[in-house]
């Protein structure tokens, strides 16, 4: 489990397992691999996962896989909605380790495959509400963040969890610009992180997570705006202070730390009252806490809900 010093592997040792090759993706930047030929429609690396099926029924249609994988924000690969699907093939997702440090009793470097083996995977079909007022319904596969947190035993002083995305401009062309101060950072209060709805996703539609959706492991917090769902995580740190988060650093008036879905608090430049569900023509009303209020509203008792944007 605990990898004290993962040996650095050369390019030749890296399997192409993590190279998610799809139509329209090209291999620019992956010099030396000589993988000019792209396979057909089925991704080379999407392996079926074993998981317990979804147990929280949701009577909303799932967003088609093709839409989930072709339309999202992942600024590490560019600011266009189609950039992640185009360029995320450049990212290597094996070997992959997550550094866990800060105020916990079992810090260390954890290998992704060990985590996937250690924690039973389950499917969670969640609504995903982007701060840009569009939404999807996505069948994730993963394990509760709480399982991992309990395993590394946070100390009593730990009040927050901070996350970081991989920073490597060679694999992430969007990082060659400075739209965001890299690496991408996110954070949760410890009680939010321990909430049973909070998921570390490693799969999508029963298969390993495609690169553009945050492979090999990403955060999913369904009652918060999508940008809280940090992708391709390489570091998890326990702290006693509220961590800085990327979008808050960029525009604190527009994107708060909590970023709970709240139809009553507009983004300064658009209303959050409604959302466009991908695949639907007419907009639907946005629900407080994205429809998960029953489960999570208790976390915020006593706080002014208008501050929880």
């Amino acid at each position: 489990m605990l990898i004290r010093n993962a040996p650095d592997l050369s390019d030749n040792d890296v399997t192409d397992h993590g190279l998610y090759i799809r139509r329209r993706q090209f291999m620019a930047g992956v010099a030396g691999l000589g993988l000019a030929a792209c396979s057909g429609s089925s991704p080379a690396s999407a392996a079926a996962l074993k998981f317990r099926p979804n147990r929280m029924p949701i009577d909303e249609a799932k967003t088609p896989l093709g839409d989930v994988t072709s339309y999202n924000n992942f600024y590490e690969f560019g600011t266009g909605k189609e950039d992640p699907a185009k360029y995320a093939g450049m990212m290597r997702t094996r070997p992959w380790t997550i550094v866990i440090d800060g105020l916990c009793d079992r810090p260390g470097r954890y290998a992704i495959d060990d985590l996937i083996k250690r924690f039973p995977l389950e499917e969670r079909i969640y609504r995903m509400r982007c701060v840009e007022a569009w939404s999807m319904v996505i069948p994730w596969v993963g394990f509760p963040l709480a399982s991992l947190i309990k395993a590394v035993a946070p100390q009593s002083g730990a009040k927050f969890v901070a996350f970081e995305t991989l920073r490597d401009p060679r694999q992430m062309p969007g990082q060659r610009g400075s739209v965001i101060q890299w690496p991408y950072r996110e954070g949760l209060r410890l009680d939010e992180a321990l909430h049973p709805l909070t998921l570390l996703a490693v799969g999508l539609y029963g298969q390993t997570l495609p690169n553009q959706n945050g492979a090999p492991i990403r955060l999913v917090v369904p009652w918060k705006y999508g940008f809280k769902g940090i992708k391709s995580i390489v570091r998890i740190r326990f702290t006693d202070k509220r961590p800085q988060t990327s979008w808050e650093m960029l525009a604190p008036r527009e994107y708060g730390f909590y970023a709970n879905v709240n139809p009553a608090v507009d983004h300064p430049r658009w209303s959050q009252a409604k959302e466009r569900r991908i695949g639907e023509f007419f907009r639907r009303k946005t629900l407080p806490f994205n429809g998960y209020g029953e489960q999570v509203a208790g976390l915020y008792r006593g706080l002014d809900p208008r501050q929880l944007y």
Binding site: G66, Y71, Y75, T79, L250, A251, R269, R276
Partner: protein, 209 residues
Amino acid sequence: MGREKRPIRARLESALVWLLCAAPLLLILAWGFTGDLTANPVEFVLRDLGLWGLRFLCLTLAVTLLAKYGRMPRLMRYRRRIGLWAFAYVALHLLTYVVIAHEFDWAEIATDIAKRPYITIGMGAFALLVPLAVTSANAVRRKMSPKAWRKLHRLIYLIAIMGVIHYFLLVKADTSSPLLYGGIVLVLLAARMPLGSLFKSAGNRAVQR
């Protein structure tokens, strides 16, 4: 562009210009049929039409300069058409915003105009474009004094600047594209400045036109 004045050639040329102006719109329609408007077609069409509105405003501004400095005087005969296409794209952009993006929710649209500067500026730019489109008709133009007409149509400078500000204010983080268009508009306007008059006493009115 040839110098021959054979009608067939002129007609072909005219048809080609028309087709080029309509191409972005035809492409959107074609993508609509093939399902290539991304997973969020409403957002894509809204953005694309707005962007083409801004591009055609830039093109309209560029025509005058190209005709004068690029030795393409024949382009001038298409300036009105290109300007009207700018109006068409901006109008379709607004129509998409009202009809599809906001489903005729007038209260929501009113809030947008009142509360969100980029919408206020966008609406203002459209309002200023309307008189330019209306006075493009020959019948109307003939009723105006050429001086008044030229003065009115200088509004396009302001409209182009407002278009860039509208675009700049709406993007989330990546301002590179709005800044690019800002630079283009700046160059197109700067090229009209009567720089010559700084050195010579003679005015340079032709450039301003």
